[in-house]
Symmetry: C2
Subunit: 463 residues, 2 copies
């Protein structure tokens, strides 16, 4: 389909400039001080959807940040694709580790991206990948190539657990009616190895607080005689894994599905070089649950990670204090069949039960979501597979991702439709990290591939 390549060539610069404008807005949903920027981003997305060909767009208020909705209905009798994405981004810290400011996008060449990559928070997760769909729509509209109806639901709270998306969906069942949900918020194995994410991990995110004495104490006068909340918190966290790095919370593994040797063998076929992996993140050794490979540990196995810890004096120099409180943010990645609410309760019960008498412990559940698995015999998977074949010249590999898009399971439950995950980012794009970036090649390849999904999905759906 040469006209698509031609259209991309012609408009490439504009496509990049538009994305860069979007990336300049610091839409950090986790930090209330960026509220105005998050709202401004929603309005920019709405405007862009209209310009791209949506005949109706609106800012849909929720108890939290708004959902941007857009649609182009060409024929009630044709199938409808619902595109989901998010316009909010992760916080930028630690900002001192960014080579250029997180919200001043720059294009730089890298080994993996010789054609250049856009460096900015949200470049890949998810503004860049979300915007591929907006530009794919523009292409289809401009070239009379839209074979079905399309709806967009772009939210602003994905990075804080999509707290109000369920609320929104329950109240907009009719408006959101669709035949398939299309999302680009995951990655591909490599530029020459297209892949479709068929599994996502669930998530349970909690915050814990350990209180010892009712005020900070002098570590000389009290040291040794009172429970130090930092030492205790460390002990409690340490006890959450055993010597084989299995999680010790009673009942945690009860519902974990053990993959068959056949399935694990199939997974092992995906190209993976452990030395390259170690080198890419500067480790001299891998680490994890005994009895599983690296790729299994970060996809089909549940995990428990401390995402943040703080307590006592963390300024310059030395302060000899026993703090009153110590805190940690802890998240657990879950696999299909583990229920995040149940796991959160198990964690809370267990964590409170292991607190020694000298301290008080509070566990505050943050948010969570269920895991998900896409059947690889459904038409949405077939349509995506055909699309990749046309553009990449080869079949995509189905892969389980370790990441979580908690709302995918909810979509199926509430909207009764399947989700297809067509990701174009690379693991090396440093999402959630300093110097996040998105390859220009990947960005354009996404815009080129998406219309083929519409074409094949519309065809297969109407059979």
């Amino acid at each position: 389909m040469n006209k698509s390549k031609a259209y991309l060539e012609e408009n490439k610069e504009r496509f990049l400039e538009e994305l860069i404008d979007l990336l300049k807005l610091p839409s950090i949903s986790a930090d209330p001080s960026y509220k105005d920027d998050v709202i401004a981003t929603a309005h920019m997305v709405k405007k862009r959807l209209a310009e791209a060909g949506c005949t109706h767009t609106e800012i849909c208020e929720t108890p939290g940040y708004p959902v941007v909705y857009g649609e182009r209905i060409i024929d009630e009798n044709l199938p409808t694709v619902l595109v989901y994405g998010h316009y909010d981004v992760q916080p930028a810290d630690p900002i001192e580790l960014w080579d250029s400011p997180a919200f001043e996008p720059v294009i730089k060449k890298t080994d993996k991206h010789p054609e250049g990559a856009i460096f900015a928070r949200g470049a890949c997760d998810d503004k860049g990948q979300m915007y591929m769909h907006v530009k794919a729509l523009e292409y289809m509209v401009e070239n009379d190539d839209l074979p079905c109806n399309v709806k967009f639901m772009i939210e602003g709270e994905e990075e804080v657990g999509s707290e109000n998306l369920g609320w929104f969906i329950q109240r907009n069942q009719e408006k959101l009616k669709n035949d398939v949900i299309l999302i680009s918020d995951t990655g591909m194995i490599a530029k020459d190895v297209p892949s479709i994410t068929t599994g996502l991990r669930g998530l349970s995110y909690v915050e814990v607080e350990v209180t010892g004495p009712n005020r900070d104490l002098h570590s000389g006068l009290y040291g040794g005689a009172v429970a130090n909340p930092i030492n205790i918190l460390s002990k409690m966290i340490a006890s959450l894994h055993d010597e084989n790095n299995k999680i010790t919370i009673p009942g945690f593994y009860d519902k974990v599905e053990e993959l068959s040797q056949v399935e694990r063998a199939k997974m092992a076929e995906a190209p993976f070089d452990v030395e390259q992996y170690k080198e890419s993140i500067g480790l001299h050794d891998i680490y994890g649950e005994k009895g599983y490979t690296t790729n299994e540990r970060n996809s089909i196995r549940p995990t428990l990670d401390v995402n943040g810890i703080w307590g006592g004096y963390i300024g310059e120099g030395a302060k000899t204090v026993i703090p009153s409180k110590a805190y940690a943010k802890i998240s657990m990645r879950l696999v299909p069949h583990q229920d995040w609410k149940e796991i959160t309760e198990l964690f809370q019960k267990h964590f409170e039960s292991i607190a020694p008498d000298g301290v008080y412990v509070k566990v505050k559940p943050h948010h969570g979501g269920q895991g998900y698995v896409t059947p690889i015999d459904g038409i949405e998977y077939k349509a995506a597979s055909e699309a990749y074949k046309e553009v990449f010249g080869k079949e995509p590999i189905p892969q389980r991702s370790g990441g979580s898009i908690p709302i995918v399971a909810m979509f199926e439950k509430e909207l009764k439709s399947k989700t297809i995950l067509m990701g174009f980012g690379l693991d090396s794009d440093a999402i959630h990290s300093p110097n996040e970036h998105f390859g220009i090649w990947n960005y354009l390849k996404g815009i080129e591939t998406i219309p083929f999904f519409y074409k094949h999905f519309a065809r297969l759906k109407q059979k």
Copy 2:
């Protein structure tokens, strides 16, 4: 000695105002951004020493903050008392827990201080207790009551480990020549239970850094497959104590002096109510090394406490990240005979040895000092004991303190003289904590008692 009481009554208001002026300067030695305030405090102390009767005063530069020196030599043949104190203070954080700003002193009544107490950082540790000696000198000079020579050495780096005091003392042996060193930087058991601190713990303060991946990683994509530096740091810290809360560093206890049952029985005679203790710091249970009482745990036993810990995302909301680094500030309180440099090395060796393969560990020694024990049969102890008897009408109780004044052991080594610790603060004065305060009764009682020490020390020394 009525004239001293009369002089105190007459000048009480001025004595308070002068201390309050001193407390308004935020002389935080740990934080470079307060450099000018620390220097300004040194100059104010110099001025006050001259006004109180020092015939020579000077600001002595060091590689760090200056030492303020003052002297009044009345007769080369008379003994000389060297007063040590410090004009720097601990950082004020967590500032949100102060009822009034840390550097805007206010006088408020409390249960323990019905006559009122001055609330401000440094009120007790050590500006208030140091200034008692300046005012005691003023009294003795004004009333022709100074029985011997006096020298003052007031430093500005005590709260950061007196890093340059050794440097200063080695270069000023002659200038600092003395017969006894007098310090008020400790506490007394209760207002009606005068006590002399006869033992101090040593200190080893280190900072540790655990590095996992070379950048922050997405906890979904990498969770379970790489070592999380926070989880690892927690595991390592947890392993530093065994199930009996004994420290597990090999060789740590080798030189610890085990007190005899007789000595322990004598210690146990000091009035102590564990229920009151728990209530005063809001604990529902005590905690510590098996086989020792609370008073033993915080005085004759060595300890290991984490004074600060940080890593990952500690802002509002949630960030699903595996951080590249995690840090902790760790201090060990040591007992006489434990060498702080040796303990620091043992810690470093052990901590590096327990790091798993997935991470890199750095241990940065901060500072430290030796423990100290004052003989209770020396004339300095006898003189102090007599002084308390005259003012309080009862013998003081010798007590071991859990705190550290690392320079005391150095004084004996470098200046060949004994130190006597006459502290007038209460454990409840919240030093190093929010709402630090110092009782007006205690402040004036100190000024009243100190001249009696001079009187009796001069008498006993000349025998």
